[in-house]
Amino acid sequence: MNTPPNLILLFVILFNFFILGTSRLATCIRSVALQGALLSLLPLFLHTSTFHTYLLAGGAFILKGLLMPWLLFRAIRQVRIRREVEPRIGYIPTLLLGALTTAGAFIFGDRLPLLPAHLHSLFIPAALATLAAGFLMLITRRKAITQVLGYLMFENGIFIFGTLLAEAMPFMVEMGVLLDMLVAIFVMGIVMNHINREFSTLNTEQLSLLRE
């Protein structure tokens, strides 16, 4: 329980709550980046120190911890959007939902049989809880940029689980995962710019022209 990976994962879960509860966009971006940076330490503790491990950790750190926040901050600056998160449902209901899903993640995580090496670790619950928090972020926030943040949290959750398997997966796939994510964020960033140009806002509630 007190091993470094578990402590990291604990902080990751606490960050989930913090991100769901905070109202300032910049804080949100920083927290997601910090969460990603924390996660990039995981492979170092989990695997033997090979070149592969360092590459994974370094790549994750640069992408999740440095590049993403830089891109997102740049997007904020360019489109001059309001600094508030603008939730669709309030912060407290989101927090409560987050707590429920986290509890659910713990229950579900306990039902799955684990390898002896991973018993009593927080990997599965943390991964599922972060996924759920990302999902909540996607659903309950209005701005395009917060939806991107939700997607990033989603990816963070997957990364947690992926580190368990990092040694079982060949190189190119991991790099593909990280790279795909980078490109996805990049494309989303471009689309956000266009949304802003068309609607002069990044509020996705404006995106309701297409409906039955």
Binding site: L114, F135, Y151, A168, M172, V173, G176, D180, I195
Partner: protein, 478 residues
């Protein structure tokens, strides 16, 4: 070697497209690439290659999907020429680059023997199709692009999680710790069942989003509705087939692990739900492209139902992949023509297309008959085969529901298509655009429809063999 050529050719063509300065010359790259690609694929399908232990290789399933995608792409490529001639003054560098890379990504997906590589390729197709959907550059298309990008990215992320779960199931079972398909199939019986089941659900939800199975289809009407007709056809015929392939890969693993029951339940549930959603939304649908999108949801439902039923229905589903791809190509391209002529895709503003666009409108009408499963066309044969599989398996209630929903969808689509094609022509719409049908914009759908008709009357032996072999791999034993 041929396979690598088929993969790298589109990327090389895309590179040329980026470097080429002329907006007028660039479209010519598309048919050239498409034809070379198709001829390579034909050779590949003729000479089966073993692919044990490597990342890339074509098994029966991959070969079959690659054939479908390449055929559709080749047929659409001429239409693309006509399309860019209509928009001669539009910047098309990004669009054509994406369009050229598209078959490359799909080829990788079809040839991937590694779940991770498959995932990367499918994700790449998502990202590549985003700029294509946004080609019209207006409020509607940006909205459609955003929804498409976000939903599919989340879906594909879930699929990633599913792959990791399956990988962990393998780790747990003490089997090979790799995601190579043939090794997974060999060691699947040892996999940890709870992880495998959870992984399959995530894979199904993830790739199901990409494929557009209800209730994960919500991006489809928007994206298909706002994308150019050409792109709509490629997405509805090509991309969905690739996503279907990804689902079939997970089905393969589940079958190898002896988990047929869950596969069948999940696929059946999603399939019937897709039919129901399509039936509800296709009735009184005023927008022809959105109607086609719901029709696409319907056919995705038919495909997974076919796989779920098993037996001869699996063969029917394989056959239907090809039919759906070709017919959707016809429908989207002709719908694109009608859309361009009237400057609208609302049913009330596009009536009487037969008098002004005789070829497109009659092809549209014939395509409608084909896709709803009217007799001389190939979809009738494949849907009938699936139905036969249901009867053989004793699923009488299911087949009753299936037929009932198909009838509802036929009526619903007819209510939209018939006025568009045969309704009274409105004079004031005439001067809206100066679009005239050209051989290029009509040849592609004509070719595809001819193929659909031929396949309905006579199925060549090599194709039949291809379907049978592919079906053998994903046969859910009844």
């Amino acid at each position: 070697m041929l396979l690598y050529a088929a993969i790298f050719l589109p990327f090389a063509a895309a590179l040329i497209a980026v470097l080429l300065p002329s907006d007028r010359l660039r479209p010519w790259l598309i048919p050239v690439t498409a034809l070379i690609h198709f001829s390579l694929v034909l050779q590949l399908t003729a000479t089966p290659t073993a692919s044990a232990g490597s990342l890339i290789g074509l098994d029966a399933l991959g070969r079959f999907i690659l054939f479908v995608v390449s055929l559709l792409y080749a047929a659409c490529s001429f239409y693309a020429l006509g399309y860019f001639r209509c928009h001669a003054d539009w910047e098309n560098r990004i669009f054509i680059t994406a369009l050229l890379t598209f078959p490359g990504a799909m080829t990788i997906a079809a040839a991937a023997q590694h779940l991770g590589l498959l995932w990367v390729a499918v994700e790449a197709t998502t990202l590549l199709s985003a700029p294509m959907i946004y080609y019209n550059r207006n409020r509607f298309s940006i909205e459609a692009t955003w929804k498409y990008l976000l939903l599919c990215s989340v879906g594909i992320a879930l699929a990633m999680l599913g792959i990791l779960f399956v990988g962990y199931a393998g780790l747990h079972g003490g089997g090979e710790q790799e995601l190579l398909l043939d090794r997974m199939l060999a060691s699947a019986p040892l996999y940890s069942k709870p992880w495998l089941r959870a992984g399959f659900v995530f894979l199904l939800v993830g790739f199901g989003t990409k494929m557009g199975l209800a209730p994960l289809h919500t991006w489809k009407p928007d994206a298909y509705g706002e994308a150019p007709g050409l792109v709509g056809g490629l997405l509805a015929g090509g991309l969905t087939s690739v996503a279907f392939l990804a689902i079939l890969r997970s089905v393969q693993i589940m079958i190898a692990a002896g988990e047929q029951a869950l596969v069948r339940q999940m696929l059946l549930a999603l399939g019937v739900l897709s039919l129901v959603f399509a039936a509800i939304f296709v009735i009184r649908q005023r927008d022809i492209k959105r109607m086609l999108a719901y029709s696409s949801v319907e056919h995705m439902g038919i495909l997974v139902i076919g796989v779920a039923v098993g037996g001869v229905a699996t063969y029917g589903a394989m056959f239907h992949v090809l039919n759906n791809a070709l017919t959707k190509g016809v429908l989207f391209m002709t719908a694109g023509n009608i859309h361009r002529y009237y400057g609208s895709k609302r049913m009330c503003e596009t009536q009487g297309a037969l008098t002004v666009l005789p070829y497109s409108a009659s092809l549209f009408l014939a395509g409608f008959l084909a896709i709803t499963g009217s007799p001389p066309f190939a979809p009738f044969m494949s849907e009938f085969t699936i139905l036969r599989g249901m009867f053989a398996g004793g699923h009488l209630a299911l087949s009753a529901v299936f037929i009932g929903l198909l009838v509802v969808i036929f009526i619903g689509m007819g209510g939209t298509v018939l006025p568009v094609a045969m309704g009274p022509h409105m004079e004031e719409a005439e001067e809206a655009t100066d679009y005239r049908e050209t051989p290029l914009t009509v040849a592609s759908p004509l070719l595809l429809l001819a193929a659909v008709l031929c396949l309905g009357i006579y199925l060549p032996e090599p194709l039949r063999l291809m379907f049978t072999e592919a079906a053998k791999l994903v046969e859910v034993a009844p």
